[in-house]
Symmetry: C2
Subunit: 394 residues, 2 copies
């Protein structure tokens, strides 16, 4: 399959504009690009010729002749794949990255790349057979660990045994027959919130994911900041208590060892077994295991121990955020991931700690908010990252 | 005085290249700019005509006709002014930002803007009367507190009573008759290390200043990152101990309240008075006061209490750096400011803590080093920031 790419930066900019802003008139486009009317008409005609955009009726008159509307071709599709620690989600989007179809399954990342990617391919195949995919331009993939973005492989991922250096990008690309990019799941989610969520108008912001692990997507000037080794935002393993518990990474007192899905399920088991929480003890008896969801349910039901766990976790995370905010001075902080499901009781604790321990200049106008997209952030962000790549002058 | 500015981006790029790389042949310049030979010759001629660059002999032959060398005009001068908490330093540089003359005085920032700026003007006047300043293109000023870079005024600076919203840029500009920019002293020092120090080849790095206060300059892609309110890098007021001492800012347990010049002098007094350090007690008796320098002397002389203070401080700073490194994944960390004078005993503690508590991916190739420029970093960086501004297409 030959994938058509924009031929120059003007075409690339036009495609991104139509992807992000939706259909618009040639006159509107002319207002925002530095091209003569004839040059713009030529670039639009070439994009139409390549099947990347198409005419879509006439706009209302702005005084003179009515300008024709163009939009990104309704034939275009992207695939977004969000591989988490405990689930795989796959979506097909249109050229504006709206999710047209989505499938998700629980799946343990520790089953290794063959099993997990095999299942992801099946999900993609199912979606493709149920939905028309006229022009597949590319696929983005998020995985729950550090990734060499340029090579498309996980690098020493702590919770992904068997995945180190596995050629995730190549494997997907061979299977799907289209360009593929692989990134860390938190980066992908940050881009999703930037494209279609609460961070849409933010240029410098942090997306903090609190799920099985904890991580942070750093967006600067509208683009992901990856750091020199590609591991920027790896906040889950910042030491927050030198006398804290040992973390899965081998260090002591990491944030993730104190507050994360994994830490909460460990603490919930301890609370159930020690008799400090009747709710959790009875839940453990029924289910044989406990997760963060049980802690949320217990807190919801008024269980004091579970409440304290949420408050203590929010406090830890709030202190950490206060540090990051003082250092980075972002315009917005978005909290996402599974534990964002704790909702406003967690958010209230995070906010009060972060606002109390930061200087007013950094937090005066700083919103700390919950993700708007929830579990859609990953697949939309994955589609976004590959569309950024495809909509670059080839 | 009419200041000549480059007329277009090509001229601006040429000037910056000659500023940063020194004299070079037209052929070398041609290799690195995307201009036709005739267009390049025209831009160079125009810069020569404006007195911004000049011919400087012939280069060695690369096979054909010998190419002529051009350099930034030796007439050009910049002024760099570094206002610290306890000193004012002023320098005159040439167009390549080499310091030609420098003057420094101790001065308390708390005397307020009239007294401090008056003294700075006198220092500038003294340097100008002793040194020829054929073409003054601009002056950069660093001050020890948060600055609105666009307005050139300090904003609620904690250790600068009387300076809030004072028109520092306008006052200097009126006095010196040239373009002036004002920035936070740490940002200025980071730029100085980037221009002429150990960070010369680093694009993403942190410059951590430990002086009377503690702050951090954040450089991304070779440029300062200021954050959305201009206060990025304000790490001195990150809470590192919720049960720690109260800071001058009113919060509890800020890094600066635990490790800084001010904190060390407080702790030194306590150690002298409680009899825990004979060295510091006798120094206090002689001098009537104690500073961080006395702690350094005491540690040097083998005083165990002073040693412990340096180790504990280095540990605190190292833990903080480990957090920043995990989050930001920089290519280099430079430690500067007065307390960098503690040298390798401090550095060893910072390094061992930071390397021990970070993940290998972030620190594997991360040098943590002492500033090369010492107290020159500020004035060179101040000259750099205004030259960046002046060498921008007007």
């Amino acid at each position: 399959m030959t994938v058509v790419r924009p031929e120059n930066v003007h075409q690339a900019r036009l495609l991104r504009q139509l992807r992000d802003g939706g259909p618009r008139s040639r006159a509107e486009i002319g207002d925002s690009v530095a091209l003569s009317r004839s040059k713009l008409a030529m670039e639009i005609d070439r994009l139409v010729g390549h099947g990347l955009i198409q005419a879509d009726g006439l706009a209302q008159s702005r005084g003179g002749r009515r300008s024709s509307i163009v939009r990104i071709s309704p034939q275009i599709r992207f695939i977004g794949i969000d591989i988490g620690a405990t689930s795989v989600a796959v979506a097909i989007t249109d050229g504006e990255l709206r999710v047209l179809a989505r499938a998700e399954e629980t799946m343990d990342i520790r089953q290794g790349p063959d099993a997990v990617l095999g299942r992801a391919f099946e999900l993609v195949g199912k979606l493709r057979s149920e939905n028309s995919v006229p022009t597949l331009l590319g696929a983005g993939v998020g995985v729950p660990g550090p990734v060499s973005f340029s090579r498309g492989v996980p690098v020493s991922p702590p919770i992904m045994p068997g995945w180190n250096q596995f050629p995730v990008r190549e494997t997907f690309s061979a299977e799907l027959g289209c360009p593929v990019l692989v990134d860390n799941d938190v980066n992908i989610m940050a881009l999703g919130e930037k494209h279609a969520g609460i961070a849409k108008s933010a240029d410098d912001f942090l997306f903090v994911k609190v799920g099985t692990g904890v991580g942070c997507g750093v967006v600067i000037g509208g683009d992901l900041y990856r750091g020199v080794s590609g591991c920027a935002g790896d906040i889950g393993h910042i030491c927050v208590d030198e006398n804290g518990p040992i973390c899965a990474c081998g260090h002591v007192g990491c944030l993730e060892a104190l507050f994360s899905g994994a830490a909460l399920s460990r603490d919930a088991l301890a609370a159930a077994r020690s008799g400090r929480s009747e709710f959790l003890a009875s839940r453990l008896e029924q289910a044989g295991t406990l997760t963060a969801v049980d802690v949320a349910d217990a807190a919801e039901a008024g269980d004091a121990t579970a409440h304290a766990m949420v408050r203590e976790g929010g406090h830890r995370l709030g202190l950490m955020l206060a540090s990051l905010v003082s250092f980075f001075n972002p315009g917005l902080v978005v909290i996402g991931g599974g534990l964002a499901g704790f909702g406003h009781s967690l958010l209230a604790e995070i906010r009060s700690t972060a606002y109390r321990t930061s200087l007013p200049l950094a937090t005066g106008n700083l919103p700390i908010v919950l993700s708007e997209l929830g579990d859609q952030a990953g697949v939309i962000g994955a589609a976004r990252i590959i569309s950024d790549h495809v909509f670059t002058a080839g």
